[in-house]
């Protein structure tokens, strides 16, 4: 289908702005790259325009995140160009259920686990992942994403849902594995430029390694007992694992933005915030008004001072702003976390 560009360069499409940034670091000027979800847009609520899909139909490779992040978009891509989809996170090991302390808050997440059971996790990339605590994934999708899992259901027959936290980019270590996947895929399709891709990839991996080290250092100023995260929903599984944080809970225990908090769960979370003296709540920039308000309410209501801090979650910011590339995106989040917790 579709016309091939006269230019012999690979036609590459990437879903989120973060993936686009990483792919562009590897592919450089030897590929024609089109990012579908531009900076500042939410990956989940993204509604494509027809010409974006025309690009997808023409593409030699379509990079998507995996773990069902761009669920709505995915179903379109799958119906338009199913052969050339590459999930950049396919080497990422999904996380075990590891972050909850044994308090009652844990109970809130049972539904989640239960959900796993129902979910169709017969993953086609099985070799690489286990099911893990995944409901976070759902959490996320739901939350900022307006897009349309409907389609997903609709395509149930051919698409198997992945389970696992889709926010793989929250740890640079995972993004290093992305780079490997990207280099491999580009090389497969365009062996002539293999060495170019490989050297770009290696250079970028060095930057990522540096970022990782910098984060380790910077975050280490936060005392051990203060390394606790309360977010709008769980999107820090990988971050917590790699930088030794504890996830205490999230404002929305449900799995979608559409789900509301139950009042008792909120009451428990408040008790918890008070007991542990947690200093900050982190809210994704694309979280709904309702969630932001709830965070402010809890911060006011707690017996100590709680900061409500904004984090970048699913998308880069517009060019020129802080957080317009993956690396500055992570540095911004790191700063927010340090300033929120290290008080």
């Amino acid at each position: 289908s579709g016309s091939q560009d006269t230019d012999q360069s690979l036609q590459v499409v990437a879903s989120t702005s973060i993936i686009t940034d990483v792919v562009s670091a590897v592919g450089g000027d030897r590929i024609v790259l089109k990012g579908l979800i531009s900076s500042g847009q939410d990956p989940h609520s993204y509604e494509p325009a027809p010409r974006d899909i025309a690009k997808v139909e023409d593409a030699d490779i379509v990079f998507v995140n995996g773990f069902d992040l761009e669920e709505g978009l995915l179903s379109i891509i799958e119906s338009v160009n199913p052969e050339n989809i590459v999930e950049v996170s396919r080497m990422v090991k999904a996380l075990e259920h590891n972050h909850h302390d044994a308090d009652d808050h844990d109970a809130d997440h049972h539904d989640a686990d239960h959900h796993d059971a129902d979910d169709h996790d017969a993953d086609h990339h099985d070799a690489d992942h286990h099911d893990a605590d995944d409901h976070d994934a759902d959490d996320h999708d739901a939350d900022d994403h307006d897009a349309d899992d409907h389609d997903a259901d609709h395509h149930d027959a051919d698409h198997h849902h992945e389970s696992g936290d889709p926010h793989t980019w929250m740890s640079p270590l995972n993004v290093i594995s992305w780079v490997e996947v990207i280099v491999e895929s580009l090389t497969d399709k365009d062996p002539a430029n293999a060495s170019y891709f490989r050297s770009n990839g290696e250079a970028y991996i060095i930057k990522l390694t540096d970022l990782h080290k910098k984060m380790q250092e910077t975050l280490s100023v936060i005392p051990e007992e203060k390394r606790v995260l309360v977010t709008d929903h769980n999107l820090f599984e990988y971050f917590a694992r790699d930088y030794n944080f504890k996830i205490v809970g999230s404002l929305i225990p449900g799995y979608s933005s559409s789900s509301e908090s139950s009042s008792r769960e909120t009451a428990r979370l408040l008790d918890h915030l008070n007991q542990e003296g947690i200093p900050a709540i982190f809210i994704g920039d694309s979280a709904g008004e309702g969630v932001k308000k709830l965070a402010l309410t809890l911060s006011k209501e707690s017996d100590h001072d709680i900061l409500v801090k904004e984090l970048l979650t699913g998308s880069l910011r517009n060019p020129g702003m802080e957080g317009d590339s993956y690396i500055s995106f992570m540095e911004y989040n790191m700063k927010q976390i340090v300033s929120g917790l290290n008080r």
Binding site: S38, G40, Q41, D42, H44, S45, E47, A49, D108, D143, D144, D146, G254, S256, S257, S258, S259, E260, S261, S262, S263, R264, E265, T266, A267, L270, S286, A287, G288, E289, G290, V291, K292, K293, L294, A295, L296, T297, L298, K300, E301
Partner: protein, 271 residues
């Protein structure tokens, strides 16, 4: 029992949520009878969606979303009001046309503005995140609604029952219609932010529908529907607390239960 009642009340967010819910329920319960009997059931749903372009524009302009939302609601109200003037156009058709158009416009604007992406706020407010300021705002609208309905009760009555007679005595049915739409719009815009559109929609329709099954006089319908709506907020709030359920949805289900109970009672009575 006392403890059962008091336990959640120790939390400020529960108190405020309950308070805000009760006030919204009161406003909606009062409006409900007219909404149901004038065939405007979907006005709440429609306005909550039609408000989208206003929200997007206010974000672009950097003004408070509430201003944009209210502005868009008022424009929609004018559109709906002018369309129903065309004799023969059913109210719901006018509402539907404006709703779909305004919402689509909002979506397009939004996709061009990018930073604002969350539509789900339209469906669900967060009744637990209600601030004291919200409670004050909602109370203001509640007072406006009660004042509006009680001051213009006879005008609402005559324009609903016989618009031609209203016109013949020099009363513009359209003006009253606009007034009612204005009250509904203010309620919907504010209430949607706190309790979500599904709940507002349910509160605007189900109470009066239930009450109409049981009593026949308009004033009694209004009183009973206000009782239904406030009771369902109270019950729904506690049920959702003790069963870890989403509050908004629980309240709507309690309301729906009241409706079916009323239906059964009325069937038995007519036997």
């Amino acid at each position: 029992m006392a403890e059962w009642i008091l336990e959640p009340l120790q939390y400020g967010f529960f108190q405020r949520g309950l308070m805000a819910g009760m006030i919204v329920a009161f406003s909606c319960g009062v409006l409900s009878a007219f909404i149901v009997w004038r065939g405007m059931a979907f006005i709440g749903d429609a306005l909550a969606h039609a408000v989208l372009p206003g929200i997007v524009i206010s974000i672009i302009l950097g003004i408070h979303v509430l201003i944009g939302a209210l502005g868009a609601a008022m424009l929609s109200v004018i559109g709906i009001g002018s369309l129903t003037r065309h004799k023969g156009f059913k109210e719901d058709t006018a509402i539907g046309v404006i709703f779909a158009g305004a919402f689509a416009l909002g979506i397009l604007l939004m996709s061009k503005v990018a930073s604002f992406k969350d539509l789900s706020h339209i469906l669900f407010g967060n009744i637990l995140g209600v601030s004291t300021f919200d409670v004050i705002l909602i109370s203001t609208v509640g007072i406006l609604v009660v004042l509006g309905i009680s001051l213009f009760y006879k005008e609402l009555l005559v324009t609903s029952f016989d618009p031609t007679h209203a016109q013949a005595i020099g009363l513009s049915p359209q003006l009253i219609h606009f007034g009612l739409l204005f009250l509904v719009a203010a309620t919907t815009v504010l209430a949607t932010q706190t309790v979500g559109v599904v709940l507002v929609m349910a509160l605007l329709v189900t109470p009066a529908a239930s009450a109409s099954l049981l009593v026949k006089k308009l004033s009694k319908i209004i009183v009973l529907s206000t009782c239904f709506s406030m009771l369902s907020i109270l019950l729904g709030f506690y049920i959702s607390y003790y069963n870890d359920l989403a509050s908004g949805a629980t309240i709507v289900l309690v309301l729906t239960l009241f409706f079916f109970l009323s239906l059964i009672v009325s069937k038995l009575r007519n036997k």
